[in-house]
Amino acid sequence: MNLALLLLSSNRLVHLSGVDIVIIIFYFALVLGIGFYLKEQANTGEDFFMAGREMTAWVAGLAFLSANLGSLELMGWAGNSYKYGILAAHWYWIGAIPSMLFLALVMMPFYYVCKTHSVPGYLKLRFGKGAQGISSISFAFMTVLMSGINMYAMAVVMKVVLGWNIHFSIIVSSLTVAAYVALGGLRSAIFNEVLQFFLIWAGALLIPILGLIEAGGWSGLQAKILQNLTELNVPNPGSYTHLWSTLGHFSANPMGINWAGIVFGLGAVIAMGYWTTDFLVVQRVLSAKDLRSAELAPIIGAAFKMMVPLIVILPGLLGLALLRDPQTGGLIRLVPANLAWSDAGQAQGLHGYDEVLPLMLARYCGPGLLGLGITALIAGFMSGMAGNVSAFTTVLVYDIYGTLINKEASDDTKVKLGRRWTVWGVLISIGTAYLAARAPSIMDYVQALFSFFIAPLFGTVLLGMLWKRATPAGGWSGLLAGTLSSIGMYTWVKLDSNAVRYVALSMDAQDQAQNMFRALWCCLICVIVTVVVSLLTQPKPDSELKDVVYGLTPIPKVEHVSMFHRPIFWGVVVAIVFVILQIIFW
């Protein structure tokens, strides 16, 4: 992208009024005020890094969900639903709900009982410092890099949507995040994530409500999409509103994927890896006040996650059905971001897929509502960045500094380091934001790098929790083999595009489909190598595996609690609703 052109461009999707600006300023003042208010409650390591482990199930659950509900996620998946149709909802349903329930009911007891501060911390207890080292260093590196790239993406969006200066957006948002996280630690980040959750729903829910009124309900929306895509000669126009019925063959749907890729690649590996081992989200649940709250938190998160397609996927579909040029009345066809934001694209007034949510916001929201919508987007960006920075700081202080550099560090030293490294984390993020500005394609590579570590990590953690025969050598070598095989497959496809037919089983496979299959294979390789090496090496004695492995961990029983307060009851309810949704949108 040409930065100079963006800075000089006067094109913008929306114009804010005075009341919109007041709402945005009020939000910034409120989050800073919360940071200052919470400073006095962040005096110990447990306070600063784990929010005192006193969060209720509702707060931990909403923060768990919000840490993933950044604006890049909202706008990106709204854009994906415009591009791929309702298939994008798989990332919110089968790509989230089963894994959240699995985290709550199977894995959380182990995380919670062993009192670890982080996922790499669990790996240290289970497999030793080797697995912890590779996991913590890669996580810290990738987290701070993603934070900066997200920040740059936010600044670009604010430029395109509002015409704001890129440097202004980066500096104001990063300084605000640095202030409230350094002051209040994880508690401050969680408070703002809960606030962001409500802002996002308040700001985005009007779009599907008004959109469905305009389209004539769900059946009217389906008919309009079919009519528009037929008019544009798009292949398989009927497949854009069906969730499963078009997944029999790679070429029958716009994503170029089949049911096996969705079920096994997305549902069983990528989603399981992300929702159960990515410390960014798991950290929120670890802050719960007791085990029952820690188990309920992901279930509450899952219940709300099932509803997110209403404010993300539906606006993308409404864009397919309703967006027309106000002058000519012709259909507006959104294009890939690199084309829309290129010099030529800007000159022609093209819009990228990711702009569908702001376009729909501008369509229905006048003064005040527009300010709320933009505030929700800003809150999402800042909350996502705060989540990255707080997780980065915890892993850096506990798993790198406290384990590899100074094992005797006092609690007070850790808190001081936490505050200092929060500021450094933000400063490094600003650096990576400008790195991304110079090389826009870096974001694609970093997202790929991120996936290299998550899918095999799930195999390692799962075997570590459920199979006591897994050895430190097995865990370490499996994690390494899985990661290297994922990098190898990615490089193979980059060097030879024909390799897609082997990696993703079809030449029709688009980027998302390739990610699914690559994750599936590298997780399987991780599991196979871990099992083989473990069987050839000496296992740890049972006494060293207490509280970290199934069968050797006494799980506290939930007694004297009614059925309605039991995690398993609500887990079953969420699972039933999940199945019903799949059938309705089949």
Binding site: V19, V22, I23, F26, Y27, L30, I34, Y37, Q41, G52, E54, M55, T56, V59, I190, F191, V194, L195, F198, L199, A202, L206, L210, I213, E214, A362, R363, Y364, C365, G366, P367, G368, L369, G371, L372, T375
Partner: protein
């Protein structure tokens, strides 16, 4: 989340929704009296009036129910 004399996250949520809701509701009423030249799609539904009112009422509920005074009463009741 709340402990001892600390303000609850729900109180801050109520404050945020209440203030934003009041601003949107007031803007909606102003727009009815002074219709804008460039109207959004479905302007006639006056979404900012009823949506602002919903947010304002939600904010008042959270703000009052989890206000410091009510929190103190609850804590006193427990002890």
């Amino acid at each position: 989340m709340k402990s001892g004399s600390h303000l609850s996250i729900w109180f801050f949520t109520g404050l945020c929704l209440g203030v934003v809701g009041a601003l949107i509701f007031a803007t909606g009423i102003y727009e009815i009296m002074n219709p804008p030249a460039n109207k959004v799609v479905l302007y006639d539904l006056h979404a900012n009036v009823w949506w602002g009112a919903i947010l304002l009422v939600s904010g008042l509920f959270f703000g009052i129910h989890f206000s410091p005074a009510n929190e103190r009463k609850r804590m006193a009741g427990k002890s």
